[in-house]
């Protein structure tokens, strides 16, 4: 039996009503099949709709045309079969680290002891067990993002959605977090769909990279990334890594310039 199609995106388009500026086509007939346990990167210039696609899978935006099936069923509302992590962490500032991580479990009605047990397990996985009574404002950016990860993983969603998860972190923390994500994935084997601007990040983490065009966002090319797993620093040293990166750059460069021009003209 072959791998399951976890996320099936069929002919999906999305238009925003821009008010005075008229309608904006964010996505144009995007097709993508994601298998269970795959890590997929959505890469493209600003405004190409990659976040829009992510939010549609999450259920925040409605599917206007085309279909999105998760485990064979169409997406409706946001729900705990999926998890999300944003660039700005978005923790609940009035809850401690521990209280944040138990949130999904609390909402599902689990008892206090069990919630705290599970939360402790995931806090340990991200290395923040000793911080569990702290409030978010007492943590650094990298720590906050790790709490966000633990919070997402605690209630065991099948699909992990990440919108530029490491974009707000400095370059050094970013590399650490990328390794941490890979080790969590090796442990839990979830399906991951993430949006990024960073070509190296896309190459390092994913199995396939979906390269988008400038607005209206179409799939320009889907690049297979065949570096063996588990990946580490040595992966970045491989000659193929540089070649792939160059390939991505040649795919993206024209689109980025186009997107910048549209942005300037829009003003």
């Amino acid at each position: 039996m072959g791998p399951l199609v976890k996320i099936d995106i069929m002919d999906v388009s999305h238009t925003f009503d821009g008010g005075k500026r008229g309608k904006v086509i964010a996505l144009d007939r995007v097709n993508l099949k994601v298998e269970d346990g795959e890590i997929i990167a959505l890469l493209g210039p600003s405004g190409c709709g990659k976040s829009t696609l992510l939010y549609m899978v999450a259920g925040f935006y409605p599917v206007q045309s085309g279909k999105i099936l998760l485990d064979g069923r169409p997406v409706s509302k946001p729900g705990p079969d999926r998890g999300i992590v944003f660039q700005e962490y978005v923790l609940f500032p009035w809850r401690t680290v521990e209280e944040n991580v138990v949130y999904g479990l609390e909402v599902q009605g689990l008892g206090r002891e069990e919630r705290e047990k599970i939360a402790s397990r995931f806090l340990e996985k991200v290395g923040l067990l000793s911080f569990k009574k702290k409030y978010p404002h007492e943590l650094s950016g990298g720590m906050k993002q790790r709490v966000a990860l633990a919070r997402m993983l605690a209630y065991n969603p099948g699909i992990l959605l990440m919108d530029e998860p490491f974009g707000a972190l400095d370059a050094q923390t970013r590399e650490l977090m990328q390794d941490e994500l890979l080790s969590l994935w090796a442990d839990l084997k979830k399906t991951i769909l993430f949006v990024t601007h960073d070509m190296e990040e896309a190459l390092y983490l994913s199995d396939r990279i979906v390269v988008f065009t400038a607005r209206p966002g179409r799939v320009k090319e889907i690049v297979e990334v065949n570096f063996p797993r588990p990946r580490d620093r040595k992966t970045r040293l491989e000659r193929d890594f540089a070649i792939h990166r160059d390939r991505l750059w040649s795919l993206l460069k024209g689109e980025i310039v186009k997107a910048k021009r549209m942005e300037d003209e829009g003003r």
Binding site: G59, P93, W94, R95, G104, V107, H137
Partner: protein, 250 residues
């Protein structure tokens, strides 16, 4: 040494307040020396007069404030969550906001008399605005990504207000509450000065008619303390409820 540099002007002012009226033999109706005011204050305290009037003023100010807090927060949440209600309330508030509510004091006294009710209601009217506005903006401005995170984790609709929107809005609501409590004392005193027989405002008017400047100054000081006291109480509540916020714990 640092203390001297900071407080020397203050000390000089107080010393002058004591010395100058005495030295220049200024009529105590014009400017009583500092010690005279202090003595008068204790006099008022021990005669019980100060406590009675302070109690009246406090009752009205706090009563009006609590009504305003209740209504302001309730309406603010309703208006913040529902576009329709917001669109109805926003123009009304925006037009009546610059209107000094003191203008209504005679109206309220006319309709409700010289007792507690007119004062409590005018305080509620004046305090309601900052609280409503703060709550309205806070609720309306709830972070979209936070709402989404809560949704994806399975938060039920009926829990949303309690678990996400209200805690997220609380810091801004407190800002409105702090403004309001400061204002409550001001407006209650004006109302008492215009039409009341009890309360610190009434006491001020009495002192004026009897040319007792020392009493006047003593009551002014008392009113300041009342205002400070109320603000401090609110701050204590805020420190407990907002223990998680950076501005409170730092």
């Amino acid at each position: 040494m640092e203390y001297v540099k900071r407080y020397y002007l203050l000390v000089i002012l107080f010393v002058a307040w004591e010395a100058v009226p005495r030295l220049l033999q200024i009529n105590p109706i014009l400017l009583p020396p500092f010690s005279m005011v202090v003595i008068k204050w204790f006099h008022l305290l021990f005669s019980g007069e100060l406590l009675i009037h302070t109690a009246n003023t406090l009752f009205r100010a706090v009563g009006g404030f609590l009504i305003a807090a209740w209504l302001g927060i309730l309406l603010g949440i309703l208006a913040g969550r529902s576009r329709q209600i917001g669109q109805v309330l926003e123009p009304v508030v925006s037009v009546t906001f610059p209107l000094p509510k003191v203008a209504f004091i005679p109206v309220f006294i006319f309709a409700l008399g010289f007792g507690h009710l007119s004062k409590i209601l005018i305080v509620a009217l004046e305090c309601g605005f900052p609280i409503f506005i703060a709550t309205y903006f806070a609720v309306r401005g709830t972070s979209r990504t936070m709402v989404w995170s809560a949704q994806i984790m399975g938060t039920k609709e009926r829990d949303f207000l309690r678990k996400v929107i209200f805690p997220s809005a609380l810091p801004m609501i407190f800002t409105g509450l702090e403004i309001s409590i400061h204002v409550s004392v001001i407006i209650v005193v004006v109302a008492e000065m215009i039409g009341a027989t009890t309360g610190l405002g009434a006491l001020l008017i009495k002192a004026k008619w009897e040319y007792e400047t020392d009493m006047l100054l003593a009551v002014i000081a008392t009113t300041s303390f009342v205002g400070l006291g109320l603000s401090l109480c609110l701050k204590a509540v805020k420190n407990r409820l907002l223990v998680w916020s950076p501005e409170v714990s730092m």
